[in-house]
């Protein structure tokens, strides 16, 4: 073979690069199914469909916990006092400023719906505890007010409000 010529060398280098590139591409594509399988499967996704919750059994001052996508959702029927407290506090003084109005649905001011997972490290805060008539997280002492906003402790953000809407005055759909 006349591999001594520079043209031969170039052809050979090109072949090696092409083969190496094909091997690399093949490896990347092969890796994809092995990673993708870790994502939620179709039944888990289907089970995460919206749920409906009937609010009639929840008396004023009470709250219930429902599960949606494996997360606990607090639904609180707030008292007048709780609403007033939540609205009296100056928004600018809060660690994560948000008005109470922005965290509830218009015309349904008494209903607070929040995901009951502490924004610090994922523990579940206890309702009706702490200094702010809201939630208290027993893990590291974060305290949320009656609007689910962080007021004190290491948590960086308010309890998130899940996507939901009122189907009727006494029924909400979460998700």
């Amino acid at each position: 073979m006349t591999t001594a010529s520079s043209a031969g060398t170039t052809r050979r280098d090109f072949l090696f690069v092409a083969t190496g590139a094909a091997a690399a591409v093949g490896t990347v594509f092969t890796a994809w199914p092995f990673i993708s399988q870790m994502n939620p499967d179709a039944s888990t996704i289907a089970a995460g469909a919206p749920i409906e919750v009937d609010l009639t059994p929840i008396a004023e001052g009470q709250d219930i916990k429902v599960f949606w996508r494996g997360k606990p959702i607090y639904i609180s029927h707030r008292t007048k006092k709780q609403i007033d407290e939540a609205r009296a506090v100056p928004v600018a003084s809060l660690p994560d400023p948000a008005t109470d109005q922005s965290r509830v649905k218009d015309g349904h001011d008494q209903w607070l719906v929040v995901i009951g997972i502490c924004t610090h490290l994922g523990c579940i805060p206890i309702a009706h505890e702490g200094n702010y008539d809201g939630f208290f997280c027993p893990c590291h002492g974060s305290q949320y007010d009656s609007s689910g906003r962080i007021r004190q402790g290491p948590a960086p953000a308010n309890l998130p409000v899940p996507p939901y809407q009122f189907v009727s005055d006494t029924k909400i759909q979460i998700g």
Binding site: M1, L15, P33, F34, Q37, N39
Partner: protein, 685 residues
């Protein structure tokens, strides 16, 4: 692994590491500088192929274990959820299931190669024995893994194989109880089998390290069977052997992919798509193809203990091979008699495998006994005798001489033929069905072949038939309403599915008061079964249990026979299930005068034994279609079978689509590897 390394790192960081842990030097001396005989043929690439297969099995196995539930009540369902719901779950399962067979095909070629070229002879005895140990571990792992899906063959395979140990005198029954963890094969058995199935591959990997260590101490054997003497006899492992192995691997991957994407059930048994039932043994218990020769030996011996001893001896005898064959000449190339007897031995093994899949009666038993004698005769009589009387041909002076005088280069094509032959032989497992009913006619299915797709209209009509007719007795419990909107499915919209689901009443609860209640179905719900439990189903159906239809088209099959099953491998024919289901629906007929049927059964041409408990379910005009399709029994059968095929294999279109892409890639890649290998080796020849 081949003495002190000559590797001299130049980078200071590597120098620092090398003085403390010479791992790079170890890799360098074992897989880069390691001298490999320059005359190795493609049979030697099976070592690399086996390493790859071990890696593939461990990797896919770890992932399967992430989705599998080792519980007797949940195992079967968890495998189905893996295949149906997990992203690419079908692909990973096919890889693992077909991978086991590929692993064994490769190991058998590897072993026959060692046998032919005398790779077990001095100084490679320990290397060979380590190989036999790996093979034994592989057989144990393969068996344990086959039990895990907890289908009928899993369960009965576990029962039969564990019962082998009951042949041990005095303590046999205690050993079996110990293996089971109960009075029969059950949940504890499944749990421990899962644990051991996860453990053993890592033990194999450990023994493989020893195997490679021993290989690198003794050096590789080669087709000439003479040791390398000068530097001219060897080439460095990298790039020469690595690139050649990589080309071998890429060809093997093509073969592997054929099974993964196009013939996933060719090597399996339809009975394993029926959930384990401790009350009913399948008509023909057949192990996986790779155990068949030993199974044939077991069945040839009419005494229980002697049969078990013979079966295990057939494997153990391999470990004594280095001393049974004391001929000085290694390679059968230079042993005119040994060469011929080697090929006779290969045929004996294949025939034994064939017999292992046949029912143990008549001529098969006699043939099995003769071949069993031949099998042991080869090792215990022929090889010791040959080494004393045979006059070998003169050996080449050196490997370099052997390379220069080389003539034939057909080895690669022989390797491929051998692999195909192995697969075909594997397919003969299905031969075990006894011939009694007429063979269902082959219908024309839209989903057959490499580009097959489900006919959407047929799927929708089939669903209508299921809903209006079949569902009054048969469940479809693995199908959720949401599946009807899946890509590659019947093609309903999400809104249509929600409407359809809400027509069903689904039991849910308990509610706040602790009561169960009915609610309208949602897309995430599964088709409700018509009966609350098997007992209720039997009571309502004259003692017969209407099977769940989710997997029926994969759980039924029939004999294709030799040589048809060989052509099936190439034409990708695998529609036995649909043909059978459709034939049953159309097979109701007037009872012939000479047949007597048990009470409460009906005559069906295609049902094994002809007496079926299901009355004729479909007749012309029974269901009306909106799309103008004829309201005939033939059309009904075709449509409902198409629908049930989709129910059993909802990702078939995705599988074939991806298969085409993979094949295009692999063919290009194998081509590139081939040219690269040629270039690399150009200066070595």
């Amino acid at each position: 692994m081949s003495g002190p390394s000559e590797y001299q790192p130049t980078h200071p960081a590597l120098k620092w590491l090398e003085r403390r842990l010479p791992i790079i030097g170890l890799v360098h001396s074992s897989f880069v500088a390691y001298p490999t005989p320059r005359n190795l043929n493609y049979w030697w690439t099976f070592g690399a192929i086996l390493s790859m297969m071990l890696g593939v099995q461990i990797l896919t196995g770890i992932i399967l274990a992430m989705h599998y539930t080792p519980n007797a009540d949940l195992a079967f369902k968890s495998v189905e959820s893996l295949v149906r719901d997990v992203n690419y779950g079908w692909l990973l399962r096919n890889m693992h299931a077909a991978g086991a067979s590929m692993f064994f095909i490769a190991v058998y070629i590897h072993m026959f190669r060692g046998l032919y070229y005398g790779s077990y002879k001095e100084p490679r005895e320990v290397l060979w024995i380590l190989g036999v140990i790996i093979y034994l571990l592989m057989m144990a792992t393969g068996f344990l893994g086959y039990v895990l899906p907890w289908g009928q063959m899993s369960f009965w395979g576990a029962t039969v194989i564990t019962n082998l140990f009951s042949a041990v005198p005095y303590v046999g029954d205690s050993i079996v109880t110990l293996l089971w963890g109960g009075y029969s094969v059950g949940n504890p058995t499944l749990n421990r089998f899962f644990s051991l199935h996860y453990l053993l591959p890592f033990v194999i990997a450990g023994v493989v390290v020893l195997h490679i260590w021993a290989l690198h101490v003794a050096g590789q054997n080669n087709p000439a069977g003479v040791e390398p003497k000068t530097e001219k006899d060897t080439v460095p492992f990298t790039p020469y052997a690595t690139i050649k192995d990589a080309f071998g691997v890429s060809c093997f991957l093509l073969f592997f992919a054929w099974f993964i994407f196009y013939m996933p059930n060719y090597l399996g048994d339809a009975d394993n798509y029926i959930p384990a039932n401790p009350g009913v043994t399948p008509a023909h218990i057949v192990p996986e193809w790779y155990y068949l020769p030993f199974y044939a030996i077991l069945r040839s011996i009419p005494n229980k203990l002697a049969g078990v001893i013979a079966m295990f001896s057939a494997i153990i005898v391999l470990a004594f091979l280095p001393w049974l064959d004391s001929a000085k000449t290694r390679s059968s190339k230079y042993r005119p008699l040994a060469k011929q007897f080697f090929w006779i031995f290969v045929v004996i093994c294949i025939l034994l495998g064939y017999l292992g899949a046949q029912p143990p009666e008549g001529i098969y038993v006699i043939a099995g006994r003769i071949l069993t004698v031949c099998y042991f005769g080869y090792f215990l009589v022929l090889l010791p005798l040959l080494s004393r009387i045979e006059k070998p041909r003169p050996l080449p002076n050196s490997i370099a001489d052997d390379v220069l005088s080389k003539s034939g280069k057909a080895v690669a094509s022989v390797a491929i033929m051998f692999a195909v032959a192995g697969a075909l032989f594997a397919g003969s497992v299905q031969n075990a069905r006894a011939e009694e009913s007429p063979v269902p006619p082959s219908e024309k299915w839209s989903f057959a072949g490499p580009f097959g797709k489900y006919d959407r209209g047929s799927l929708q009509r089939g669903l209508k038939i299921y809903k209006e007719v079949c569902s009054s007795c048969h469940g479809l419990s693995y199908i959720a309403f949401r599946n009807l909107a899946d890509a590659d499915g019947p093609g309903y919209s999400v809104a249509q599915v929600a409407a359809l689901a809400s027509e069903y009443k689904i039991k849910d609860g308990p509610n706040d008061a602790g009561d169960m209640f009915d609610r309208p179905g949602r897309a995430a719900d599964y088709f409700p079964s018509p009966f609350p439990n098997d007992q209720a189903a039997r009571a309502a159906n004259g003692g017969g249990l209407p099977p769940d239809l989710s997997l029926i088209t994969k759980a039924r099959s029939y004999e294709r026979g030799f040589p048809q099953f060989i052509f099936d491998f190439f034409t990708q024919f695998q529609e036995q299930g649909p043909n059978y289901v459709s034939a049953i629906l159309q097979g109701f007929d007037k009872k012939p005068a000479d047949v007597t049927l048990p009470e409460g059964t009906y005559y069906n041409k295609y049902f094994p034994g002809h007496a079926i408990k299901m009355p004729k379910p479909l007749s012309d005009g029974q269901v009306t279609f909106d799309d103008g399709a004829p309201a005939t029994l033939a059309q009904y059968s075709h449509d409902v079978t198409t629908f049930l095929m989709w129910a059993a294999e909802p990702h078939m279109e995705a599988r074939k689509r991806l298969g085409l892409q993979v094949f295009v890639f692999l063919i290009i890649f194998a081509g590139l590897m081939f040219w690269t290998k040629k270039k690399v080796w150009a200066d070595a020849h």
